[in-house]
């Protein structure tokens, strides 16, 4: 049988509706095209 204490650590709090605004603001929308452009800019 698994260890409860370890197992419970895998559970994260669910996002509450009140936090949606912050969550949208903090959402990382970076995609691979952004990373690629960043790399190209750095090379240049």
């Amino acid at each position: 049988m698994f260890d409860f204490e370890e197992e419970i650590k895998k559970f994260q709090p669910s996002l509450e509706v009140a936090d949606i605004e912050n969550a949208i603001r903090d959402e990382d929308l970076t995609d691979l095209r952004d990373i690629l452009n960043e790399l190209l800019n750095q090379i240049k």
Binding site: M1, F2, F4, E7, I8, K10, F11, P13, S14, L15, E16, V17, A18, D19, I20, A23, I24, E27, L29, T30, D31, L32, R33, D34, L36
Partner: protein, 444 residues
């Protein structure tokens, strides 16, 4: 091919993969694939909308709303996200319920980390009751049941979690653990007895059931079942059918009784009417009979009176005989003139008759011929009860007493007492009643 084009293709590839997974309710797999898709192209609107929908399917409304809002900001028009957001806005109660459920779930997580598992279980039950698609709540409750060794409850909860997301690694892991625990349980195996017994008779092999009692047991079982069936049948008959029949019989009897009562009442009324009618006829008949009798008596009385008158005039008949005839005359039936004649005859005939009888009775009494004496005195009493100041009555009573007829004697003494109370002769009558026959002081 340009690299950016390749990224778009990759994004679409993962979107398709996510869609396939979502269709078979592999929600966690779908979320993973769709997140991949968005890593290649953050503007993949269908992938973002589907990701939101997948989160919503797992009960994560807030996560869903985030992706739909971002999707709408990327493509404000002709976007499915608008529809989803509108639907949520149209049902604020539902959103509020889910919001509360998510909040309670987070509280439960905190309880679990503070060794408040019991409280967490109670709270989680309420959470899944109010928000039945909240996958994480089922999983956490399943974990709590598992660690609390409540395997049956754990199985129920994890089955529901599995229905919501059929390839979720956490759910699968818990189900695996649950199965492992079940397999560890010792299973009682039936003793492997041989089912048949074989033996040889000559060249033939005979195979018989191993348990010789099996047939007997089967027979007993059949009999037992029949018995139980019969008992149940009797019970049903006794408790359900018979009371019904009895009740209906009682109702029928009551109806019959009421009908008979009515009939009896009507017959009684008829009988009563007939009785009244009969009584009327009887009365009428009695009255006519009485009138007839009266007429007869009147006629006889007149005839007797005329006869006595003739006898008195001719002087051929003794006074005693004439007195006897007069005694049979009904004075009340006579008219005024006849009554006057009757009274005249009585006045001239009776005194001598009474005197004769008194003398005769006294003579018989003196020689102890009490029966003869009693007859004489009775003849006097029939005409005049208080003859010779009651002495005739006293003689009569004494005659009865001395002849041994005490009942009659007592009756006559009592008559004397009633007739002449508070007199010397009444005192003598009392003496006679007391059993001491009184002497009659008679100077006549």
């Amino acid at each position: 091919m340009e690299l950016t084009q390749k990224f778009l293709y990759q994004s679409n590839y993962w979107y398709n993969d996510g869609l396939e997974r979502a269709k078979v309710r592999d929600m966690s797999g779908a979320i993973r694939s769709l997140k991949h898709s968005l890593k290649y192209n953050r503007d993949n609107v269908p992938a973002r909308n589907l990701l939101g929908l997948t989160y919503y399917g797992c009960g994560e409304a807030a996560e869903a709303v985030i992706h739909w809002i971002i999707s709408r900001s990327i493509q404000p028009r002709d976007n499915l996200a608008n529809y989803y957001i509108k639907r949520i806005q149209q049902s604020p109660n539902e959103l509020e319920r889910q919001k509360q459920a998510i909040h309670k779930y987070n509280q439960c997580l905190a309880y679990c980390r503070q060794n408040g598992e019991d409280l967490a279980i109670i709270q989680l039950k309420k959470v899944i009751a109010s928000h039945p698609t909240f996958l994480k709540a089922y999983q956490l409750l399943g974990l709590l049941y598992l660690t609390g060794k409540e395997y049956s409850n754990a199985r129920q909860v994890l089955r529901k979690a599995h229905k919501l997301d059929n390839a979720n690694p956490i759910t699968l892991r818990y189900m695996y653990e649950l199965n492992r625990v079940r397999e560890k349980k010792p299973i009682r195996l039936k003793e492997n007895k041989p089912q048949t017994v074989s033996y040889s008779v000559g060249n033939e092999t005979v195979i018989q059931p191993a348990n010789p009692d099996s047939k007997e047991k089967a027979r007993i079982s059949i009999l037992l079942n029949l018995l139980i069936g019969a008992v149940m049948g009797v019970a049903v008959l006794w408790f359900l059918i018979i009371p019904q029949i009895q009740q209906s019989k009682a109702f029928q009897t009551n109806d019959d009784i009421v009908a008979y009562s009515d009939e009896i009442a009507s017959q009684n009324a008829e009988i009563s009417a007939l009785k009244t009618e009969l009584d009327t006829y009887r009365n009428a008949s009695e009255e006519s009979e009485s009138a007839k009798e009266t007429a007869k008596s009147t006629q006889a009385s007149y005839e007797l009176l005329l006869k006595v008158k003739e006898q008195y005039d001719s002087q051929t008949v003794s006074n005693a005989d004439m007195a006897e005839s007069l005694g049979e005359v009904n004075r009340e039936a006579l008219g005024e003139g006849a009554k006057a004649l009757y009274d005249t005859l009585v006045e001239v005939i009776y005194p001598s008759v009474l005197e004769t009888r008194y003398t005769s009775g006294k003579a018989s009494y003196d020689v102890a011929e009490y029966e003869t004496a009693a007859a004489s005195f009775q003849g006097i009493i029939d005409i005049q009860e208080d003859y010779n100041e009651g002495k005739a009555l006293l003689y009569l009573a004494n005659s009865y007493a001395r002849s041994g007829d005490t009942d009659k004697a007592e009756e006559v003494y009592q008559k004397l007492l009633d007739l002449m109370p508070d007199t010397d002769i009444a005192a003598k009558a009392q003496k006679g009643i007391d059993g001491d026959i009184p002497e009659v002081e008679d100077t006549q």
